[in-house]
Structures are given as structure tokens and as C-alpha cells.
């Protein structure tokens, strides 16, 4: 494990910042810095899975990752780009303005190598569909915290069907009260109430839709 990956995994914000700056100054390839940051986030995800880490560590590591990317990303422009695992459209469904879970998952997906199109909150079915068409993303992630969001998720799945995209797009729904029953009710391919588990499911989707 690199020092930078270790600093992120240990949630050492100052050390991670220092190492990123040091590597940039030393002329290290920006993409390799991104890879090290991702390695750190991967370790965090593993520790969460093993119940050594909790949501708070995902949040803290996510913030450290975002700080590092804010410095490194401008240097990637015009140079060698990171290879994306898959494109993915993400958003909180129509009638729901909760963003915590979606934002955390969005950061984890980005750190895992997904090209995430985060549409925000209160997203209507048509907006989701338009973005899927525009980007060609084969994965759709919908978030919601309230029971009325189940209807919005269902309507969005229907809109994806009506657009003729259902067999090309894998759909995952997530949120604090999303259960297997909800996943079936809305017609999704998968459900989760656990961010890192959602990332693993999306990785599987990415492999299946390549």
C-alpha cells in the first residue's frame, strides 16, 4: 500500500493533503495519484464491509478524496485520463429532496472509478430517461428516503421501459427504508440500504453491461 493510500485509509487528512501536494511537486503522473487515492478508498470500503468502519469513516474519507481530486483533476485535463468502469446516472427521485445517502454513494462510486452523472434531488422520470439517452449510461441509481418515493421510482422504471431502454439499463434503488419488497414493487434489478454494498452491485452491473 502506498503512503497516500494509507493516509486516506487511516483518515489522516493533513497527511493525505501533504502527500498529494508533494507528489504533484515531484512531477508524479496525476493519474497515478488518482489511483493511489482510489486504493485508499477501496481499503476504507473493505473496512466498512468488515464492520471496522462506519458511515462516518465513509464520509471523512470521501471528503479527503474530494479534496485530493480538487487538486489533481485540473492536472488531468489534456493528459492521460482515468479509465471509467462505467457511466452511471444517479439521483433522488421526484418528490424527495433528501441528498445525504445519494451524495455519499456518488462519492464512493466516483472513487471506485464510475463516471457518475448526479442529477441531484427531486428528479422527474423524464429527466432520468433523457440523461440515460444522452450519456448512454447502462446503469441507473435512484435514491429516496420516504415511502412516496416508491411511486416515483416505479414511474421512473416505467419511463425507462417506455423509452425502450429497459433491457439496456440496469436499475438499482437505495435509501434508508428501501427493502427487497420495495425493490420488487418498483421493478428494479437490485436494491440496497447500504452505500458500499450499492457500489459492489454497480460494479457487477458494470461487468454485465460491458
Amino acid at each position: 500500500m502506498s503512503e497516500l493510500a494509507d493516509a486516506i485509509a487511516e483518515l489522516n487528512e493533513d497527511e493525505a493533503k501533504r502527500l498529494v501536494r508533494e507528489k504533484i511537486d515531484a512531477g508524479v503522473e496525476p493519474l497515478s495519484i488518482v489511483d493511489e487515492c482510489r486504493e485508499g478508498m477501496d481499503i476504507v470500503g473493505g473496512r466498512y464491509k468488515n464492520k471496522e468502519y462506519f458511515l462516518s469513516e465513509l464520509i471523512v474519507s470521501g471528503e479527503i478524496f474530494k479534496e485530493a481530486m480538487a487538486v489533481v483533476e485540473p492536472l488531468l485535463k489534456g493528459g492521460k485520463q482515468a479509465e471509467s468502469l462505467s457511466k452511471m446516472v444517479l439521483g433522488t427521485v421526484k418528490g424527495d429532496i433528501h441528498n445525504i445517502g445519494k451524495d455519499i454513494v456518488g462519492t464512493l462510486l466516483t472513487a471506485a472509478g464510475f463516471e457518475v452523472y448526479d442529477l441531484g434531488i427531486d428528479i422527474a422520470p423524464r429527466i432520468f430517461v433523457d440523461k440515460l439517452v444522452e450519456t448512454g449510461a447502462p446503469i441507473l441509481g435512484m435514491s429516496g428516503l420516504l415511502t412516496p418515493s416508491f411511486e416515483s421510482m416505479k414511474e421512473t422504471v416505467k419511463a425507462v421501459e417506455e423509452a425502450g431502454l429497459r433491457d439496456k439499463v440496469k436499475i438499482i434503488v437505495g435509501g434508508g427504508i428501501v427493502t427487497e419488497q420495495v425493490g420488487k414493487y418498483v421493478g428494479a434489478d437490485a436494491f440496497t440500504s447500504d452505500g458500499p454494498e450499492g457500489v459492489e452491485i454497480c460494479k457487477k452491473f458494470a461487468r454485465e453491461t460491458k
Binding site: S56, I59, G95, I97, I177, T179
Partner: protein, 386 residues
């Protein structure tokens, strides 16, 4: 129907005191959303028309043949007639987007909390120096445009409404459990700083966060005791969501949540107030700590994400458990699913007493009436298997 030998009040008190009851009491966390929709009003209308909203709750109570207790008597706020109390309530209510008042929240949706920073990290030193009441009074104009006398008059009216809601239920023989509501310092700071910013505060400046909590807890506790005295209902809802194991490791809970919870619950118990600990999200790993709280003076109200069966194993003989019909089951399940789940709760968690059947958090606005009625009926018709 089970032959009833106790009044609702006796049954609920028996559950809290872990004494035998004739059947498991049932007490949904009922606000105005589901009744409004059921009565053909919009949620927005029910929220903004107090009398009609309260009547809608009473009507649905009568329609299902009644239940045993109201956790909260209605949807007014119990406040002390102080500027600080009004400012805190104002900060809380302004955090919500209400149905019909925002394009994203339809007239039939429920109020939704908008996660953004209402306190900044720069406010911490002022809170430490002046306490919550001092900070709120000094910063009143940042959080409300109303002058102090109007805030105090509003707070007084809210509390009068709250007491009248309680009286409405008392006249029907139904006790209300909570005469006031308060958040733990952690919950308060997390929602007012935002989850991400507060989590980073805990990571970067833990000593300062602890000092802020020390400065908040006494004002919160004393105001809550006073509010409960004003409403005349001998209980308190302590709102807890963000300090549990869903969010934080136990080392955070042990330092930043549990000592303050304990201090508050012990102060309430010393005043004879029962604390309903409203646990949203998963607290399963935190359950063993609850045995350090005053025996038979608390209710652990669970929302279906904490393992309620594990809670029974751990808290049996120490505190009453309430819950935890999942919101999704109320909204998209069938009456058969509902009956099966409630029977399981009654058989396992209700066995030997100390259980109140309830919804996991609030009955959702889009609950199916037949599912709700099945929950109430199952409590009245099913005894624990043993």
C-alpha cells in the same frame, strides 16, 4: 377479540413498568399526514388547519375503534415562553420544506428536512461562551425576523395547542406519552451543521464539539422539563437518529452521544418524566448501553432498522420497547403481511410484557388504511403465543 380487563391508560402504564398486561397495547406514531389524506384533505391543508387536522386524527381513531396511546398528542410544538425556545423551534421548522410551499414537496407529501448548514463552525465559540439560550438570544435576528414579544406569544400559543391536543385524547381515555420534544446535543448539531460538516467537526475538532455539547445540554434539559410541565403530560420524546451505529463507531457514541443522553434521561426521570427515546436508523450495537439508563423510566422506540428482537433480548426486564412496523410495509404491503409481522412482534417482543406495538417512526402519508387497521386489530386480537 381478547377480553379486555384494563383501560388503555392502565395497559400502557403496565407496559412501561414491565408489569403484566391483558394484551399488548398499540400506539402508532400518528401525526396529521395519513389522517388528512384518508379524510380527503391534502396534507398541506391538514398541517395548516389545526382544528381540522386534529379532528382528522380523532376521526381515524374512531373509525378503527381506537388505540391505546398517542405518542405525541398532535402536531403542535411544546415550548417554553422564552426567546431561545422560540428560536430553536424556528431553526427546526425552517429546516423543513412543507407540502404545498415548495415545488419539490407536493401538497400530499410530508414535510422534508433540507440538509444544509444553519450553524457554522464559527458559532461554536459563542455557544461555548454563552450557552444555548445566550447564543439564541444574541443571534435571534439570524434565525427569525420576529421580535422577542411575538416569538414568546407564538411559543405560548403553540404550547396551549399542545396541551389542548393532550386534553382531547385524555377525554377519550387515551394517554399521551410525550409532553415535550427535544433532540440530543449530537442530533441537534448534526442537523444544524449538516451530517457531513458535523462529522468533519468530530474528526477535526473533537474537543471543541464536546465543549459545545456541554454548553447545550443543561439548557436543552431544563427547557424540556419546563415545557412538559406546561403541557401537563408527564413524558418527553428524546429524538435520536444520528448518534447510533448506523452512522458512528461506538467510540463516538460513548463520548458524544451517550453521556448527554444519560444526563438528560436521568434529569427527566428525576422529575418523574418517562423518556420515549425516538431511535431512527440502526442502534443495534448501542443497545447494551441503554441498560445504564433508569429502569422502567424509558421507552426504546424503534423504527425497524434496529433489530427489535435483539433489543428484546438485551433490554428485557429493564425498559419497555415500542415499534416497529416498517413504513414500507404500511405503504406497499398487504394486510396479510401486516398481520403476520405484528403477530411476530407480539409473540416475541410482547412476550412477558414491556412492549407497545407501534409504527416504525411516523405512519407514512401514503399508508394503506387496511394495513393500518390490521395493525390496530392484531394488537386487540392476538395474545403472545406463550
Amino acid at each position: 377479540m381478547i377480553k379486555e380487563t384494563m383501560t388503555s391508560k392502565e395497559r400502557v402504564e403496565a407496559a412501561i413498568k414491565l408489569e403484566p398486561y391483558d394484551r399488548v397495547p398499540v400506539a402508532p406514531l400518528m401525526d396529521v399526514m395519513f389522517p388528512s389524506r384518508h379524510k380527503g384533505m391534502t396534507v398541506a391543508y391538514g398541517i395548516s388547519h389545526w382544528k381540522e387536522g386534529l379532528q382528522a386524527i380523532v376521526d381515524i381513531f374512531d373509525e378503527v375503534g381506537g388505540w391505546d396511546a398517542m405518542i405525541l398528542p398532535g402536531y403542535s410544538l411544546a415550548l417554553t415562553p422564552k426567546v431561545a425556545s422560540g428560536v430553536m423551534a424556528s431553526m427546526g421548522t425552517r429546516g423543513y420544506k412543507f407540502p404545498g410551499q415548495d415545488a419539490a414537496v407536493s401538497e400530499n407529501s410530508q414535510p422534508q428536512y433540507e440538509e444544509r448548514e444553519r450553524l457554522t463552525v464559527d458559532n461554536y465559540d459563542e455557544i461555548i461562551k454563552y450557552g444555548w439560550s445566550g447564543f439564541a438570544e444574541r443571534n435571534r435576528e439570524r434565525y427569525t425576523s420576529f421580535p422577542p414579544e411575538q416569538i414568546i406569544a407564538w411559543a405560548k400559543k403553540q404550547t396551549e395547542h399542545y396541551a389542548r391536543e393532550g386534553e382531547t385524547w385524555a377525554q377519550k381515555g387515551v394517554p399521551s406519552l410525550c409532553g415535550a420534544i427535544v433532540e440530543s446535543p449530537l442530533m441537534f448539531l448534526s442537523t444544524k451543521r449538516s451530517l457531513t460538516s458535523f462529522t468533519m467537526d468530530l474528526h477535526r475538532i473533537p474537543d471543541k464539539v464536546e465543549a459545545v455539547m456541554d454548553a447545550l445540554v443543561d439548557d436543552f434539559t431544563m427547557d424540556t422539563i419546563e415545557a412538559a410541565r406546561l403541557t401537563g403530560i408527564p413524558g418527553v420524546m428524546l429524538v435520536l437518529e444520528r448518534g447510533g451505529c448506523f452512522y458512528y463507531p461506538l467510540k463516538i457514541f460513548e463520548r458524544f452521544e451517550f453521556p448527554y443522553m444519560k444526563k438528560m434521561v436521568e434529569a427527566f426521570a428525576a422529575e418523574g418524566l418517562i423518556t420515549v427515546m425516538h431511535f431512527d436508523q440502526d442502534w443495534t450495537l448501542n443497545l447494551p448501553y441503554l441498560k445504564e439508563l433508569p429502569e422502567k423510566m424509558c421507552i426504546a422506540e424503534l423504527d425497524s432498522t434496529t433489530d427489535i428482537f435483539k433489543a428484546k433480548e438485551i433490554l428485557k426486564g429493564h425498559m419497555c420497547i415500542m415499534g416497529d412496523v416498517p413504513a414500507s410495509l404500511s405503504a406497499i404491503g398487504t394486510p396479510e403481511d401486516m398481520e403476520a409481522y405484528c403477530k411476530k412482534l407480539i409473540d416475541v417482543v410482547g412476550d412477558g410484557g414491556g412492549f407497545i406495538l407501534s409504527s416504525g417512526c411516523t405512519i407514512p402519508a401514503n399508508a394503506k388504511f387496511e394495513n393500518f387497521k390490521t395493525m390496530i386489530d392484531t394488537a386487540k386480537n392476538h395474545l403472545p403465543a406463550s
